[in-house]
Assembly symmetry: C2
Homo-oligomer: 345 residues x 2
């Protein structure tokens, strides 16, 4: 199998290098081909998602992504929108047809004290957020800034709703069998369609799943005040962007949060933390999320659950043995990565 690795900007190259080391260890037969994305791709090719990268994806079995984007005051942010690093990321998602972004939010036993929540609220939290990733206000329809007026169109079709809802129902079947669909159906027509179609799909094909519907503002509250109520959450792109980042703070470090984006073809696997330009190049970034993303790549992309479990166990051990600075420890990127490699054996 062939994996395309896209380290990207900021700490992306450091954490991706760590993940690649671990991947080579547990799956020595895979080919890993590195390409450019984001700001560094713009600097080299004048395009944040350049043709050589596009071409490399054609026969890829999975894509390992680092992080994309610069600091707030980066020169990249003054470029026209389609040349900015983030546009490279959005174009990559679209090119791969990755419509379902899976973000597990799990508080590791013994690490409850890292959570900003009270330990009794953080304990045992285990949520899977399934975010629709190719529709809504991100891509479709009219969008324009025209003098003193600007608009964007939020749009969904039944086909788009159903394909991501299927992923959520399928995931819930391997978990506790409960899905919460999040919308703003008391205000938005788009949410009315969303709610109608998710409900119809459940009634038709997933009778065993317990489905409920909640408003996005209410979920923003409850995910903080009572996170254990949730098993699988499925929602549209913009709500998912906000809620998945919100939920990601519960375990206490973004350095612990991997993600998988699945769809028509090769899946995309990336840590959810940003490019952290302030610590880039210093060799201190926590690579756990990138390594766990490689684990998700093995599980969902290459269907190698044993190798994936091996990585998850090794990361859990390394987190205890060699915690990085964001976790209150002292390990740098390489020390932590070595601890993972040791724990694999």
């Amino acid at each position: 199998p062939k994996i395309v690795s896209l380290p990207g900007d900021g700490i992306g190259p450091e954490v991706t290098a760590a993940a690649v080391q671990v991947l080579r260890e547990v799956a020595p037969d895979v080919t890993i081909e590195e390409h450019l994305i984001g700001g560094v791709a713009f600097d080299t090719h004048g395009d944040p998602f350049p043709q050589p990268t596009r071409d490399a994806l054609k026969d890829a079995d999975a894509v390992l992504l680092g992080t994309v984007g610069g600091a707030q005051d980066s020169a990249w942010n003054l470029l026209p929108r389609h040349q900015r690093p983030e546009s490279g990321l959005l174009a990559l998602r679209k090119a791969l047809g990755c419509y379902a972004n899976l973000r597990p939010v799990r508080v590791q036993p013994g690490l409850e004290h890292l959570s900003p929540l009270k330990p009794e609220l953080a304990r045992g939290v285990d949520i899977l957020i399934v975010r629709e990733l190719l529709g809504g206000v991100y891509f479709d329809g009219d969008r324009k800034i025209d003098g003193d007026t600007a608009y964007n169109t939020m749009r969904y079709t039944t086909a788009e709703v159903e394909r991501v809802a299927k992923v959520a129902f399928w995931a819930a079947e391997q978990r506790k069998g409960r899905v919460t669909s999040v919308d703003k159906a008391n205000v938005l027509e788009v949410s009315e369609l969303w709610r109608r179609d998710v409900t119809a799909l459940r009634d038709r094909d997933y009778r065993g799943i317990h489905l409920n519907h909640e408003y996005v503002d209410s979920v923003a509250m409850l995910i903080v005040s009572d996170p254990s109520r949730y098993d699988v959450i499925v929602t549209e792109n913009l709500f998912g962007d906000i809620l998945s980042d919100l939920a990601a703070v519960i375990p206490g470090s973004l350095g612990l949060m991997p993600s998988a984006s699945l769809g028509d073809g090769a899946g995309l696997f990336e840590p959810i933390h940003g490019s952290a330009p302030d610590i880039a190049g210093k060799g201190v970034a926590n690579p756990a999320a990138a390594i766990m993303s490689a684990g998700m790549l093995l599980r969902h992309g290459l269907k190698r659950p044993d190798a994936a479990n091996q990585i998850d166990r090794a990361v859990a051990l390394a987190l205890r043995a060699q915690p990085t600075r964001d976790l209150g420890g002292t390990a740098d990127t390489q020390t932590f990565t070595r601890a993972v490699l040791n724990a694999l054996e």
Copy 2:
């Protein structure tokens, strides 16, 4: 001065009655006229914002609102959208021209333990969220559900951005002088306009204010993991809906959260909690937020800061003397209200 009171649905009548008792005590000269809104208005007039209510607003100096809407499985939710209770609320906001929703989020000293956050994070939190309330995806532009496709339009104009930003800058001048403007400018054209216009207004008229810009997903994280970084937050309607509810959990009880909506004419003052159909009619709802909303009415609506301060002090005392059930105490609605009335004298 004339106040229109709109108790609405669920626990609205109980908590509004408490607020009216307190208002009569500190401002015996005001006239208070009661009218229907929401589900009860639909039941009586077939319209959640009926003509008699509209008429009563014409010469009102301020509006005191309870809560609107039924349970998830309420028959009201099966009505066409424009007849549902929530539509009455949206129409009321529009009729009053209330474009700026102010939600103070303050952790009362000594009540840190109520917060879902660790006490060291909750302590001292004092944020004012200014939410744009008449634009964005809520009202303007095309919206439709058409077979297998639905869309809504998110839209803003410079005039809409500037008028709400002015309220935020003005509020920051009475506080710590810092404003965080929240958008998704890396994806949305609407946010690009928002950011441009907020920045231009600051540069032109509010040089003394420290303004920064953050993305909505990042704010969702930081408001939980580091809430003390914020002074005033200003944002568009949908982001404000989500973030203000999210921030509202920090003090630990929605029963403590008032709000004011200001604009062209009479202001609208309401607790942010919902209609809580499960406890409606039992006389146990916490009326603190409704009473504090009456305080905001006196401060912002009638320009009587002394009376407003009187209420705030009395509520703080009553919260210690007679905490309600949601706060771990035993006081019912009337007991708490009497404690406030006693503390006034």
